[in-house]
Symmetry: D3
Subunit: 330 residues, 6 copies
């Protein structure tokens, strides 16, 4: 039976356009095409590691909508529950890749996308969740519109009813909503969630919680929201082209620390999402320690390939987790 998914994710995917070779957008004669969206990124990372995943979104039935579906399918993610419409549009975003002291920057053009106009009842969540194990979404989805927020809540409630674990990434986007709105809605969502995946910065921006120590923050959140796991990704950015990347998870009353990697950055967009995908894979199979290890491993590799989506394999993740050297692999 195909219909028993390990992981169902829900959110927006945009067409992403970026100039090559550190060009500024104003100079570009052509733009590289990728797709990206937090929850699709999660599904792809999890699918490549071995989970059966299903991705739910709402797409306009045109060339751009088909590209989103194609790219999800290319990685083996099931797209059979996507809601198609003849209206609206597919959101776009533009990325400029920087070099110190110029940071990467992103220009969104996502207003009035099909997913923002999704309505209660358009997705048959009961059918979608049949036999599934985890439902994941992020704070971007409810921030897209009033109705998107309603559907996100509908989804989370249906997931709980169908006995799925609910996983949430805070993913605060200041362009989409205010901190007050975010706090109101995310409190509701995290309130029913089992797993929270986020950054220190987003915790402060959404819940106003700030501590000297991120481990303490994780603990506080887990207690406050009765979460079984709180994962926090950690990034140092000594330069644009070289970052240090790690994560911790708080679960079972203790902290598990993931490995730390010095990363030569090819494309850091989507790394938090691939962490989430790797975390959910590891967590589902072997608990929080495996979760944080797979999460850090797959998201470290994600940052070495262009695009929001990770192309690493589970063997490659294993290799770097075992401390593989940097010689040519022949």
């Amino acid at each position: 039976m195909k219909n028993s998914y390990d992981l169902v994710t829900f959110g927006e995917t945009m067409i992403r356009l970026s100039p090559p070779d550190y060009q500024r957008l104003e100079q570009a004669g052509h733009l590289d095409v990728h797709v990206g969206g937090s929850e699709l990124n999660v599904a792809v990372a999890a699918q490549r590691l071995g989970l059966q995943t299903l991705y739910v979104t709402r797409l306009t039935r045109n060339l751009l909508g088909r590209i989103v579906e194609n790219k999800a399918r290319e990685h083996g993610v099931d797209t059979s529950h996507i809601v198609w419409t003849d209206d609206d549009r597919i959101g776009l975003y533009f990325v400029e890749f920087g070099a110190s002291p110029r940071a990467n920057s992103v220009l969104y053009d996502r207003k009035d996308a099909a997913i923002a106009n999704i309505k209660i009842g358009e997705v048959n969540w009961e059918e979608t969740f049949q036999g599934a194990k985890i439902f994941h979404t992020s704070g971007i989805t409810p921030a897209l519109s009033q109705t998107a927020a309603e559907v996100t809540i509908e989804a989370v409630e249906a997931a709980k009813k169908a006995s799925l674990k609910v996983s949430i990434d805070l993913n605060y986007r200041a362009r989409l909503w205010s901190q007050e709105e975010a706090q109101r809605v995310m409190t509701k969502l995290v309130g029913v969630a089992d797993i929270l995946i986020t950054t220190e910065e987003d915790i402060e921006r959404v819940f106003g919680i700030k501590k000297d120590d991120y481990e303490e923050v994780a603990k506080v959140l887990a207690d406050q929201f009765h979460l079984e796991a709180v994962a926090i990704t950690l990034r140092e950015t000594p330069s644009v082209w070289k970052n240090v990347w790690s994560a911790i998870v708080y679960a079972d009353g203790r902290i598990y620390r993931g490995p730390s990697f010095e990363i030569e950055i090819v494309d850091r967009v989507g790394s938090g999402d691939s962490f989430a995908g790797g975390f959910l894979y590891g967590y589902l199979h072997d608990g929080p320690e495996a979760g944080v290890r797979y999460g850090v491993g797959v998201s470290a590799l994600k940052q070495t390939n262009p695009g929001d989506l990770v192309w690493a394999t589970s063997d490659e993740v294993a290799r770097i987790l075992e401390g593989g050297n940097l010689r040519i692999v022949r």
Copy 2:
């Protein structure tokens, strides 16, 4: 004094994205970037032939807005009267280049662009038109929104008041408005215009006028709207890669026929616009016969370079009008 323009045009410019090498959009790893918009296309053609041109539009103050201004300036078109806003977005459109039996196709994503949200009074038309000779716009501009239609009428009236000749291209776009709406507004605009540039097909779609003979159509229109010149472009499409291209103009009570070219199509988007630019250049300098000759010449060359904008020079137009052969020019 820089401020005495030969030609002022007004309308929308979009970022245009197209896959190379006859790829379908779904296959494309990268997209070529151009800008295009009917009235900018007109200005560029006229400027390259020798007119001093000014282009008026409304742009969002972001990377995409700057690209539009840059590309206009690159050709020498004056952009100093563009209205800038922090709101809205820059419209986009996607082109797929075809091969028989697959026609070229275009997907617009232009809703809620900055130009569509332009309001009466945002452009100081009196200052804009000071010393200018011709004002040109097309049926696309009023079709963008209610307020864009109001501003178009405001512009046309201000132009007449400032003693400019008014030139209109019908440019009917079925995705933007109905034939009824188009007829209502275009009747008003053409009613005050001096010059009409269009196709047989658009005359039928907008005014419901259809005759056996396009020369007759031109005459009827000129009489009905008291126009001093009506130019009609003529295209035969035996195949996607090879078209036959010509035009006629009715003025001074007679028909002037332009030359006819067999064209090997590199990119036919924007050819009607470069015809208009060439026509206005020739017409202003030497009357309708020169107009139709320069119009056909520059727009024939336009179809041999990628992008909406023409890159030909006035020497090159002269060369093909004189019947230059197809040997290598050394």
Copy 3:
């Protein structure tokens, strides 16, 4: 239930490498990457038109094998029955695109591919065919090796046992086997087939049947092999860049003629295969007349996009079958 496929196809897919812009391979600084294989090409065409398809092959578990699976999935073709191995290799082929008087040319490097080393019993045909309607393969598959021929016969017999219709494309490849070998094996395969899709030339090369009239050839074949439908594609090549393309089918004791298209050739590789995919789609839904119409339509469009796989939609096919003009589709 996902497992009820309309169409199951079986054969080899290779990585295809081709220099861009009519370069010769010796000049090329980079090569475009596509995948192609007759039976995958068929599945993709059928899937895009609306059939549920499953593609069976044998792939080496490496980067190249994954590319083949990815590209099949991208179009929605099910790949869950692919046989994976750690041994062997993925075949490659190189295409040089020509211009008159230089024909397109192909260099194969497919020896010892994983599919050539497939063995009886590696595919569970009974499970694969459960609920399916048509099985399709071509003369390339049995030509790959002795064991591939055995598995092809195994598949055809299992298909008949499971009450699928069997469709065969002769697809004679002189580099792979002699005419004698081809005749021996294809006689067996066509002997149990219901549908034959081929060209006049292959009929002569494989079965030695030559008539003044291809309609007569179709009839003779249908009678000799008790086939319910024999489809023959027809190509005229006045030049490398412009071909005329059509097809006929003999069924129900009569000839159905498909439309004929003048085609501006972007990439003609795989056109016979997309014809087969379109034919099977139309035939399954509406009988032989629909078959030949959809077959010609989708394969005409295939020749206007780069790559072996067709990217057209069923709407686009409908548009050209209705005689759509060659103006820009906006």
Copy 4:
């Protein structure tokens, strides 16, 4: 009135050709096209920050000459005083981008360019300078030829007469003239200048002045030539891909130190020029401290985009001057 420029610059612009992806020129199948020339680079940097700039040069009326004008106009630089000729040629230069231990290298092919053949009287300096505030040129311009040196002196004298401040960049090029010739001419030019922008190395090569301390050097120069400001850019090159970049200015009897940036080098060609553009912008608006800050800021960003010309905006410069972090800007 358009004709009141903040800054007028004068010099040569070449077409620049460079292989992508760290290829050597001998390997390259294609070359990226940029334009570059010290004084145009200055104008573009200043224009993007907010000055009204005019660029004077002499160009051959052909495709390459038009490219130079186009690219200047694209950034909003006024080109209306360019001297056009039917003779001579446009200079070219080739850049190979290196990686440690291979330094970047440049091959010039600029002999007999149109600018080198400029003659006294071809530019109407009086008209050019009307209402302008600063004139800038560099030591490259007089080094191009005897007549170019004469016109440079003519320009500097006309600038002083028209009450412009004169800014000079030493820019010593050993391939163009000897240190003796340079010293002779530059002494004359710097003798009438108000602002000098240069490097320690060029001061030593042109004036033979060498001190333990670059601040001392600046002071000595300012005193010797009665300059109101002497700016010196400072670069450390621990590796080809990572440099440290800063500058100081001596003015009002004291040293102002600019910020220092660790730069991940995308393209360092033209950084001294964009420093000059930024310096003149800041200096004109707010004095030497603003000058050195804007100079370092805009030239730090310049090194992160391909090409000689900077594409940063004044907001982006402000952001890094305020110590903006290296996270993604969304």
Copy 5:
């Protein structure tokens, strides 16, 4: 012994830069790099068909000079007698590829190239010609400069002295010299030549000979200059993308007609040169009939690959001469 060449050619090779995809030079973000020069083109065509060839020129010892040598060697042409200098430059030329009604066009930047500054005595012709059979040059070489003309005459005389056949292509270039100068020098060169390869147009421009019939022209020339063979290439240009190509040769008192090909033009630059290379190959092996056949065959194929140099093989030439069809060659 390597040193016995079948064919020695002498002339200039330039770096050729051209925008891809029918772009105008002003639009191009990058330029394709090729090398081209009439006499190198001849050598490459002859070498690929099977002659041992040696190419003589004078090159500046820099990156561009090395590219010229590399590309000659890549085809197996011997470069060991090239004269290297530290002075001067390598000529460049720019090609814009057109589409009807825009012809291809070429912009030369070849002044002061190393070859133009060659001097009598720099090439040891006696050693160069040892054991060789044919010497070939064209009217471009003596047109480059006074000294280049002197060396060309020196070469031709040395060739005759060493008992080589001398082959000349008129190749008149109006930008390089006047018809009077051309006539004066070419009369001298053709006066000692054995073989003349040219076009009707060049015969008229250089020698003022014009007849109704090109066969008559060939005969007149052969008689006047005591030539053993006069070959004339024939091109019809119904459009830029489709030409008809053939040639005739007059020898042994009669006319031999080559085959005629409809050519889909990828790049027609250098076709006359590859004709010459093919003609000399065929003529040397089998006389005038073989010459004109191989000449037309190899030059027809040349026009189907990008670049001045032909990449066809002798098998491919044979295939089209035998009337090969336009199907895919598998």
Copy 6:
């Protein structure tokens, strides 16, 4: 006399395909084409520095075989003794360029290549070696097949007989043979060799020799196999994009240390080979100290250009050996 080579090398060259811009192979729309093979890489490095080199291999007479020959000739390497066959194939390999923590990786597809099927007697070694000074091959060549091992031994013996010095690079490839087989064959080859070039790691893998100190290892090897020189390259890989590179040589009873370079890695494939080429050049001209200096210098530069082959010149090597700075070379 051309036939007196300084260096003859023998081995396999493959077509190398790699995705650009750190893409994974699964993402790639096109692949860059290079050629690479240990012994060709050696010949090219030596030839560029100034040796006359000859490269021997066995190639299939098709497009891919011609590419190998072309690329060798492009650098001036003599290919006149290559053995051509109509059978077999040209090996391929795929490279993915990584970024920390993802190492570069290589996928070989070299089975059944023409060189693997070479047979005793196919190369006339006596003629090949006439007048030559050094013969070089590596442990890859005998690992390709039983017959390739036989021919390698045949070559080495013929080289000794013809009084050439024999140089061997261990180059152990675990995918090609076991350590036992390698030890057996390499013991024989190194037993007759004069020069050994390798890494510590390969010495341990092939001969099981491991010491605390690589200088000691070199000494032990030299003694055990009576070698006149043992060179060991040394690489540290703090990250994928930044390596430290050096080498030592043991000769004349002492250690010579090469310079050490911090290298910004563009492409490290083939660096050991270019070291060997540089070492043999220096060693032949000036002994072991020059050898290790030129070896390190040329191979440091090799790592800064794409492709297996080095494109540096002998001047550039000299510049970095003299401690040239990292400023722009103008």
